[in-house]
């Protein structure tokens, strides 16, 4: 059967999704990037191959996320797309009438406004990472609560405390302060959810007309406390799609299906990618005072591409980067 592979490599998680020609999900993987995007992608490929085996033939590959270019080179991608477009495409696939997408990932958060099946506006957090997955992870670890249970705790709160949510450093100080005053863990966690939602709506969502249906995507949507807080602040139902954590990958796979050159073979290198040796090395170019950090990407010792130089003199062979 013909299938399409989408890979979304972000700061915190690496997600893979395989769809059939009708856009039905055949297999999915959600992994921690853990600072090693290449290894994470290879691990995901290994798992997908084990699951699907020879049952499917990959006819197109799309990559997205902050490591989309690197991943595109790694696996051989037909489409390399930014995560805003990928998330919008996936949201429209799940809910064709969607008018608002809230997406909170590991290190960035975005809002996408759609009308009549088309993106008309979007925003991403700019100067502050407050309210993203990394911070929640960190706080869950500090409080000794597994991240999976973190959101559920908020639902048990009776009197959520007010936490300063503008900046993560101050939010943490404020949480510690409330904790030392004797507030319950549930109330503090609920207060944090409230603060994050307030911050999101005042920063990323500023000036945007948020209309239903509202989809909440990204890894953080697993946090039920946040879902409730969003629904309360917006006074709208907020839907978390079934595969909210791999929507970026689903979007990338759909883009691979829709944008591949008609009749052209896929650039996919095959499942063997999981066993190849990929290495990145870097050096500082001494050509001018910019001292650019140039990265070299090697497959089995051969340089596939270089990037990172401002003037472009090292960027040989890196098509699409």
């Amino acid at each position: 059967m013909e299938a399409f592979l989408g890979i979304d490599v972000g700061s915190v998680s690496t997600n893979l999704a395989v769809l059939d020609g009708q856009g039905r999900l055949l297999a999915r993987q959600y992994l921690r990037t853990a600072g090693r995007p290449i290894a994470a992608v290879q691990e995901g490929m290994r798992a997908l191959e084990a699951e699907l085996g020879g049952a499917v033939a990959i006819a197109g590959v799309g990559t997205t996320g902050s490591a989309r270019h690197l991943t595109g080179l790694l696996v051989g991608a037909d489409v390399i797309k930014n995560e805003i477009t990928a998330h919008a495409v996936a949201a429209l696939h799940v809910e064709p009438g969607v008018r608002t997408v809230l997406e909170i990932g590991g290190q960035d958060s975005k809002i996408i406004i759609l009308r009549d099946g088309m993106v008309i506006d979007f925003a991403m957090n700019t100067v502050c990472a407050a309210g993203t997955g990394s911070f929640l992870d960190q706080q869950a670890a500090r409080l000794g609560v597994p991240i999976q249970e973190f959101g559920g705790l908020a639902l048990a709160a009776r009197h959520p405390v007010r936490i300063a949510g503008r900046c993560t450093v101050f939010a943490e100080s404020d949480m510690i302060h409330k904790q030392q005053l004797g507030h319950s863990l549930e109330d503090i966690v609920a207060g944090l959810c409230e603060a994050l939602v307030r911050n999101y709506l005042n920063n990323v969502g500023k000036g945007k007309e948020i209309l239903p249906p509202v989809l909440f995507q990204g890894g953080v949507a697993a946090n039920r406390g946040l879902v409730e807080a969003f629904a309360r602040h917006l006074a709208l139902p907020v839907t978390v799609p079934p595969h909210h954590d791999v929507m970026g990958a689903i979007g990338a796979a759909l883009l691979a299906r829709d944008l591949r050159r008609p009749g052209a073979p896929t650039a996919f290198k095959g499942w063997r990618v999981k066993d190849l040796e990929f290495k990145t090395t870097s050096f500082e170019c001494q050509g001018c005072p910019n001292l650019c950090e140039v990265v070299q990407f090697r497959q089995e010792g051969r340089v596939l591409a270089r990037w990172g130089s401002r003037c472009g003199k090292w960027e040989a062979d890196s098509s699409g980067i």
Binding site: V79, T85, D116, I120, L255, P289
Partner: protein
């Protein structure tokens, strides 16, 4: 005297030539690099905007090389940049440099002051007023030629077949203008440069967007200050029209819409003639571009820029009433290039999808590019 000035795009070619013609020894400000920014950030107040820091870095770099005189523009109105040179001067003194800054305020704010400063510059170079006037004429022609070339490159880049070809052609064209030493030579260099740009191999079948680029003046004039937003837009397939150039700032007519027209266009949204910097122009240009049927507008400004924040808060209304997408990007020394690229790419995707939809074509993502 050893003279230097802030760096803004390619304008240094004209300024170098002018000051040399006035008998000075010119230290050409180096290209803005990581080192420039590091130096500027180290000595500037933290909450000064990025242009302050970049210019501070440049001043320190040229002061190291022995610059004795720095020439810059002042400014009037609510934007604090008009006062930057005073603080720059103080920081240079604190660092032990004897460098002096002369800042030219717009002549209509005080002809006497302008004249005194001009007289100081040409007399200290040991040339006559006559030669000074001639040199100003040629330098003005150079400035205009440099802007003409850049404006053309912003159109050509969208269709270039080989990525980077336009940037290379522009560099060559600028070098020709740089070498010109008289009005006829400048005219010839301009014609040659435009031919070079038009000679770039172009894909005529590519469907290009028309995007207006507006915002704060330094972020527009020095591409590095917006992490090359104008080039990225070109690579993504957008023909870019920019609201500001050095020559336009200096009063050039017929290069972009007349100032009065821009102000008039902003009137329904802003009751003021001036909100500082070019906030009024940002609003007015967006309206004018929308009326001309542009696909979208990108606003660029340094983080914390008050005039542009005023404009930014008005733009959503303009965007809604005219149905033109607008994206604002604010930059400081912490801004990462990856985030800027991601936003611009998503914005361009949005513009292509709209264009398709307006033509009534079935979209199913088909209008997007593969990379």
């Amino acid at each position: 005297m050893k003279v230097s000035f802030p760096r803004m795009g390619n304008s240094h070619c004209a300024f170098r030539w002018l000051l040399e013609a006035l008998g000075h020894q010119v230290i050409v400000p180096p290209e803005i690099s990581t080192r420039t920014l590091d130096l500027g950030v180290r000595y500037a107040p933290e909450f000064a905007c990025m242009p302050f820091k970049v210019v501070m870095g440049t001043y320190l770099e040229v002061a190291e090389q022995g610059a004795e005189l720095l020439i810059t523009s002042g400014g009037v109105g609510p934007c604090r940049a008009g006062y930057y040179w005073v603080l720059h001067q103080q920081i240079l003194e604190e660092q032990g440099y004897p460098t002096r800054i002369v800042a030219f305020d717009p002549p209509d704010c005080g002809w006497r002051d302008f004249w005194h400063k001009l007289a100081f510059v040409y007399r200290s170079g040991g040339v006559s007023l006559r030669r000074c006037l001639w040199a100003l004429q040629v330098a003005w022609a150079k400035l205009k030629a440099l802007d003409d070339l850049e404006a053309r490159s912003l159109q050509v880049r969208a269709r270039e077949v080989q990525r980077g070809a336009t940037t290379r052609a522009l560099r060559q064209a600028v070098a020709t203008v740089d070498a010109a030493g008289s009005l006829p030579e400048v005219a010839e260099a301009l014609a040659h440069g435009l031919r070079l740009l038009d000679g770039v191999d172009q894909d005529d079948r590519r469907e290009c967007l028309r995007v207006g680029l507006t915002g704060e003046i330094y972020a527009l004039l020095e591409p590095v200050a917006s992490l090359s937003t104008q080039e990225i837009l070109g690579h993504l397939g957008a023909e870019v029209e920019r609201s500001m150039y050095v020559s336009r700032f200096a009063g050039r007519k017929g290069f972009g819409p007349p100032h009065a027209e821009v102000v008039r266009a902003s009137r329904p949204y802003l009751g003021l003639e001036c909100v500082g910097g070019h906030g009024v122009e940002t609003v007015g240009m967006t309206v004018l571009w929308a009326r001309k049927g542009f696909d979208g507008v990108v606003q660029v400004a340094p983080f914390g820029c008050t005039p542009e924040i005023v404009a930014k808060s008005i733009l959503p209304r303009v965007s809604q009433e005219y149905g033109i997408p607008v994206m604002s990007l604010f930059f400081d020394e912490q801004t990462g290039p990856a985030g800027v690229y991601t936003r611009l790419e998503a914005f361009v995707d949005l513009l292509y999808a709209r264009r398709r939809a307006r033509r009534g074509e079935e979209s199913r993502n088909g209008s997007l590019s593969r990379h």
